[in-house]
């Protein structure tokens, strides 16, 4: 765990445990109890087979976060109105007593479905606060659970209707075998969607792959790696993919043998029994089905903004340069009908026969098909009800009216409205959710959500809505075990680098004390310390993984890599031997047509085959007459969602600015560096404009994650995209449509003059 280098510096091996697409080795250099420097993976050999797990700017700047003067230091209780941000210091004793009282009362009065642990990813360790609170509440009688994520809910829901699983991703090491890589809304250079993902793309390029980026933005990844940037209007990816399918079919470039062998519902000859004619994918694409509209490149250029000749070129290149990888990021699925592009992409991968082969890519969700087992803290929630993570505002207002039609799982109908919220290390209560103004009003009503507990490092926008606000420890101050969530065959041990400061506490410590107040100490702890639990996780892991090191060795090295001879190829088994390895779908095939979706009987919004559905507040919405610009909130390198928004080093590396194209700025007389007001019917944001050729005309962006900071008139002064987003769940996943917003922009001085 420790090795002493020159001088008296001790180096502690750890990793970031906050939510991040990457998971890297972080080494804290500690001197006199303080971290004096942070380095990353710079000692292990940096090989092709196992590139070092190098941290990005975010963890490297952690000192400026760890020692930030605004850190929450003591437990506090609210003294002002909810959301006002006025608090008073109290003791842990009082804080936990109050939480225990409300928990007892609400459990007794309303039952477990009134207690909600909101979506929170600020601590993604195996022993985070969230884990312990789940364990405690499960023992106390249960809690209302959620499913899905704000990142990927639509593709998580939709991809299994095609493949039967979300694990449609091969290993990134395999990209060197691709002749062509198409990145649709995928920007790993900034999102760090997997440590080294952008680096693997560079290696693929060096091996000869052509890289095309389809994105409203000329992304950091595109600038560094793309041979071609194709700007596309947000929410229209399915239109582009439909038109590519049209070109491929009409030019007879599809892999017909693949389609006939592995797929259901591509054409009329391969449909499930009992479905009326004209409902196959091919009929939809050619316009011979119900809508009688051929999905030609000319049809698609109207919505996508992509010239038809480029659509034709792209379709031909993808069909003729096999193997090719059409890789979809999560951005394109965070919109009104975000379920569709995931299935449209998978359809194209199937038509070109790029599934299950080296250098191909099955598209869709793309979670790694190779997984390893790592043990977890046991949680056995007796309450079976779960809602989509995005549905909680409705569950607060009218939970008892919500049932299966609204995506409730586990029960037919909810038995209670949400009354108690635990928001532990998360900012989805306000900031990362939709419609901050509307949500603030909802949360402000103490008759609805009666009690809100928040734990965090800072007074974030969500923390302002706490009734009791608790100061959490951070990743340099605790031990834990973390896994990469997106890609990588490894697991990391986090060693504690420095002591916890002030009255900040580890989740296990204070939730154990809460367990005592609920008379569950023995059941909750099983007599174990936190270290015992970490040993338990390692023991569980070792049972399934021969060769996994002892607790001591794992802790000492800080990392364990699983060894494999070859990169994993998603659906390789199915393609090599379908009879013995059917796809995990009802038909055992790749389902262009899903009978399960057909049976939902919501064809306009949840079609049985992937379709382009024009989004409300998309490029074809008549509301563009009033609000002509599509506003998205792209991820930038400087934050993980809302984390690190308050880190000055990050502001210096990349200031929070509003992206507007040179074209749209000129029309409005906006100059680079000027203050502008971005607005729609839901809110107003004031931000400095970055006038740039790196975003397409008609589209603007407020980089997501800025902390909502309304002034007295409610005008956001920091640039929280969700001041402008609409609260409207998507039809299948009940997910967040974050990139579906129409806005107008004006120079601030002009607006003030008009007042």
């Amino acid at each position: 765990m420790t090795d002493t280098t020159f001088q008296e510096e001790t180096i502690i091996r750890t990793s970031g445990s906050h939510n991040c697409g990457g998971r890297c080795i972080v080494k804290a250099h500690v001197k006199d109890g303080r971290i004096v420097r942070i380095t990353s993976d710079d000692e292990r050999p940096d090989t092709d087979k196992r590139p070092q797990l190098r941290g990005c700017l975010r963890c490297r700047a952690y000192r400026s976060y760890l020692y930030h003067e605004d850190r929450l230091k003591y437990p506090m209780k609210r003294i002002g109105k909810r959301g006002e941000g006025l608090f008073e210091r109290i003791s842990w004793e009082e804080a936990l007593g109050t939480i225990a009282d409300h928990t007892k009362r609400i459990m007794a009065e309303y039952g477990p479905e009134a207690i909600y642990l909101s979506y929170a990813t600020g601590n993604a360790g195996k022993t985070s606060e969230q884990v312990w609170m789940r364990r405690l509440l499960a023992l106390y009688g249960g809690y209302l659970d959620y499913y899905g994520t704000y990142s990927s809910a639509c593709t998580n829901a939709a991809t299994p209707y095609t493949y039967g699983t979300v694990n449609s991703g091969s290993s990134r090491e395999d990209w060197v075998n691709s002749k062509l890589i198409i990145l649709m809304g995928f920007n790993p250079a900034a999102t760090i969607h997997g440590t080294n993902t952008a680096y693997y793309l560079k290696k693929a390029k060096e091996a000869g792959a052509k890289i095309i980026c389809i994105d409203p933005l000329y992304s950091d990844t595109a600038v560094a790696l793309a041979d071609q940037w194709i700007p596309i209007r947000p929410t229209t990816d399915s239109a582009l993919l439909d038109a590519m399918a049209y070109v491929i079919i009409t030019e007879n470039l599809q892999d017909q043998v693949f389609l006939d062998t592995y797929c259901l519902g591509f054409d009329e000859d391969h449909m499930p029994e009992g479905i009326p004619a004209g409902n196959s994918y091919k009929s939809y694409i050619l316009g011979t089905g119900t809508d009688q509209v051929p999905k030609t490149p000319a049809w698609a250029e109207r919505s996508t903004g992509i010239p038809r000749e480029i659509i034709i070129q792209l379709a031909r290149e993808y069909a003729l340069n096999k193997p090719g990888a059409l890789i979809q990021g999560f951005g394109p699925q965070r919109h009104a009908y975000g379920e569709q592009p995931s299935r449209s992409g998978a359809a194209l991968a199937a038509m070109t026969g790029n599934i299950g082969i080296k250098g191909g890519w099955a598209s869709g969700c793309g979670s790694p098909c190779r997984k390893q087992y790592v043990g977890s803290i046991p949680i056995n929630n007796p309450c079976k009800a779960a809602i989509s993570m995005y549905m909680w505002p409705l569950a607060i207002q009218k939970g008892t009216e919500l049932g299966k039609r609204e995506g409730v799982r586990g029960v037919d109908k909810l038995s209670a409205n949400i009354k108690l919220i635990f928001n532990l290390a998360g900012n989805c209560l306000i900031n990362q959710h939709s419609d901050t103004n509307g949500t603030a009003e909802l949360l402000g009503d103490e008759n609805l959500a009666q009690f809100i507990v928040v734990s965090d490092h800072f007074l974030t926008s969500s923390a302002k809505f706490a009734d009791i606000l608790l100061p959490g420890d951070n990743f340099m101050e605790r031990e834990d075990i973390v896994l990469p969530w997106s890609a990588g065959d490894y697991v990391l041990f986090m060693n504690k680098a420095v002591d916890t400061v002030y009255e900040c506490r580890n989740g296990y410590d204070w939730i154990r004390d809460l367990a005592e107040r609920l008379e569950l100490t023995a059941e909750f702890t099983q007599g174990k310390t936190l270290e015992d639990w970490l040993r338990f996780i390692v023991d569980e892991t070792r049972k399934e993984n021969p060769g996994f090191p002892s607790y001591e060795e794992f802790k000492e090295k800080g990392v364990y890599d699983w060894e494999y001879e070859e990169p994993a190829i998603a659906f390789k088994e199915q393609i090599e031997d379908l009879r013995h390895h059917p796809f995990p779908t009802p038909s055992g095939k790749i389902e262009f047509f899903s009978s399960r979706l057909w049976e939902l009987d919501k064809p306009a919004e949840v079609p049985a085959i992937p379709k382009y559905i024009p989004a409300w507040e998309g490029p074809e919405d008549p509301l563009r007459g009033t609000y002509p610009l599509q506003c998205i909130g792209h991820h930038t390198k400087r934050r993980v969602h809302s984390m690190f928004d308050n880190n000055d080093w990050m502001e210096e590396a990349e200031a929070q600015v509003f992206w507007i194209s040179v074209y749209d700025a000129k029309k409005r007389g906006i100059k680079n560096g000027e203050k502008v007001c971005i607005y729609n019917a839901r809110g107003k944001v004031i931000l400095t404009a970055k006038v740039t050729p790196r975003i397409m005309p008609g589209v603007v962006s407020i980089p997501q994650g800025g902390w909502w900071s309304p002034d007295k008139e409610g005008i956001d002064q920091r640039g929280c995209i969700n001041t402008l987003t609409k609260y409207q769940p998507t039809p299948l996943a009940f997910a967040n449509p974050q990139h579906t917003n129409l806005v107008e922009v004006a120079k601030l001085d002009q607006m003030e003059a008009e007042k």
């Binding site: 490297r60 000192r63 900034a190 680096y199 000329y218 250029e301 903004g305 050729p693």
Partner: protein, 193 residues
């Protein structure tokens, strides 16, 4: 030719991620406003709109820039207190803090804005190639931090043999006279084809 240590920048694949800038800032404990390595961003081009469709001729690229320990460094020539010197054994351009009077002439003359004024002690500071790390046989902080592996270092003549002798791309000031000790593999948009 005497020894000259130099940086290598595979600029064409730089994602502008700023890990180098932050690693350097952290290593050298630099306050806000000071960065010995900085990411310079360049972008341009425009759009043409025809009916519903958009054509672009956008270009963009980054150059991660620090002191380039120039062979004929202009900062040395202008320093009135002879605080800046070129070290014989490796060609590093270093500042003797004791002699520095903080007049900032080196800053004014440097095409890369490499020397930076430290308000805390009234002296100039800049990249020293992490000479403490070099002594231990490890790479400078920025180099080992680069997630894209586009930063490297080595003996200038060897780097030139391997990667060519480009030391200038579009956007940078003309530096032919001072012979900066770095080798660039340019971004497609940063050179005239």
């Amino acid at each position: 030719m005497s020894k000259q240590i130099a940086f290598y920048v595979e600029q064409k694949h730089c994602t502008g991620c700023s890990a180098c800038q932050i690693a350097c800032k952290d290593k050298h404990n630099l306050p806000l406003g000071q960065n010995f390595r900085q990411i310079h961003a360049y972008e341009g081009g425009d759009f043409t709109i025809s009916g519903n469709v958009v054509y672009q001729n956008t270009y963009a690229y980054w150059i991660p820039v620090s002191c380039n320990h120039c062979v004929d460094a202009s900062c040395i020539a202008v320093c009135p207190s002879k605080a800046i010197f070129k070290r014989q054994e490796d060609g590093l351009v270093l500042i003797n803090e004791k002699s520095c009077i903080g007049c900032r002439r080196c800053f004014a003359v440097c095409p890369y804005q490499a020397p930076q004024f430290d308000a805390a002690n009234g002296k100039m500071k800049k990249c020293d190639f992490c000479q403490d790390l070099l002594q231990q046989g490890t790479a400078p902080a920025c180099v080992s931090a680069c997630p894209m592996r586009v930063l490297g270092y080595g003996e200038l003549s060897e780097l030139q043999k391997k990667y060519g002798d480009t030391s200038w791309v579009k956007g940078l000031p003309n530096t032919a006279k001072i012979k900066p000790a770095w080798v660039l593999v340019p971004h497609r948009d940063a050179v005239d084809v």
